[in-house]
């Protein structure tokens, strides 16, 4: 990160090897985002596929207190539709930033899309996000009603 000082740009933060992600040598799509009134960062898509199963995730790396940090990871889809498993399932979720909370950080609004079907085994449903509004508490995004959070891992 460079900071403008007069007519010059001074390098204030040089943080390398922030994260390793992607597959087959290709990084997921990413885009700079504003995640608060005065908060900036990079949103990175991730996911994997194999044996007819495909998943997708998004990760936010945010700039906070002078350095970048992995803020959250959210799974956005999972399907085994191309697998040989006879018990097919497939679900998709989406999220968007909401209005800023009192701390200036935007809330997250998470929703599951209609028409989803889920794995029968509870252990395979762990990645399904809980719908609702999440608020950043300075460390993690926490659901406003339920005791769940979107941790960095």
């Amino acid at each position: 990160m460079f900071e403008k000082q007069g007519g010059k740009w001074v390098n204030k933060v040089d943080q390398r090897n922030l994260a390793s992600m992607g597959s087959y040598g290709v990084a997921g799509e990413r885009k700079p985002v504003q995640w608060g009134s005065h908060a900036y960062g990079l949103l990175v898509n991730d996911g994997w596929g194999g044996y007819g199963q495909f998943t997708s995730f998004q990760n936010l790396h945010g700039f906070e207190n002078g350095s970048f940090r992995h803020i959250f990871n959210i799974q956005l889809s999972d399907t085994n539709g191309a697998s040989l498993n006879p018990e097919k399932y497939g679900w998709d979720a989406e999220w968007k930033f909401g209005p800023p909370a009192p701390n200036g950080i935007f809330d997250m609004v998470v929703r599951l899309k209609p028409g989803n079907s889920y794995p029968k085994e509870p252990g395979n449903r762990k990645g399904v996000p809980v719908q609702g509004v999440y608020r950043y508490d300075g460390t993690v995004y926490k659901h406003l009603v339920k005791h769940v959070s979107l941790g960095p891992e």
């Binding site: 990160m1 460079f2 900071e3 403008k4 000082q5 007519g7 010059k8 740009w9 001074v10 390098n11 204030k12 040089d14 390398r16 390793s20 992607g22 040598g25 290709v26 990084a27 990413r30 885009k31 700079p32 504003q34 005065h38 900036y40 990079l42 700039f63």
Partner: protein, 82 residues
């Protein structure tokens, strides 16, 4: 007299820290963009850091605490992953 001594001789006690610190700080002069930022980071051998790996990049201009800032994000496949 070396450059440091020369500057010290020019700067008064009160303004020494501000003037001399800014004179010592390497920086990009004028407009900034990704190419300039990468070249700058790779041109600082004293940092002891390896070259910035760049295959793709994204940039972001922002205001933080009333200061104009520029973020440079780079991605690259590490050589060990070929």
């Amino acid at each position: 007299m070396d450059r440091g001594g020369y500057r010290m001789a020019l700067c008064g006690v009160d303004d020494f820290e501000l003037l001399c610190a800014s004179a010592e700080t390497p920086a990009i002069v004028g407009m900034i963009d990704a190419q300039k930022a990468v070249a700058f980071l790779n041109g600082q051998p004293s940092s002891g850091k390896a070259a910035v790996p760049v295959e793709e990049y994204a940039t972001q201009h922002a205001l933080l605490d009333g200061k104009e800032v520029f973020f440079l994000y780079t991605t690259a496949n590490p050589p060990s992953n070929n």
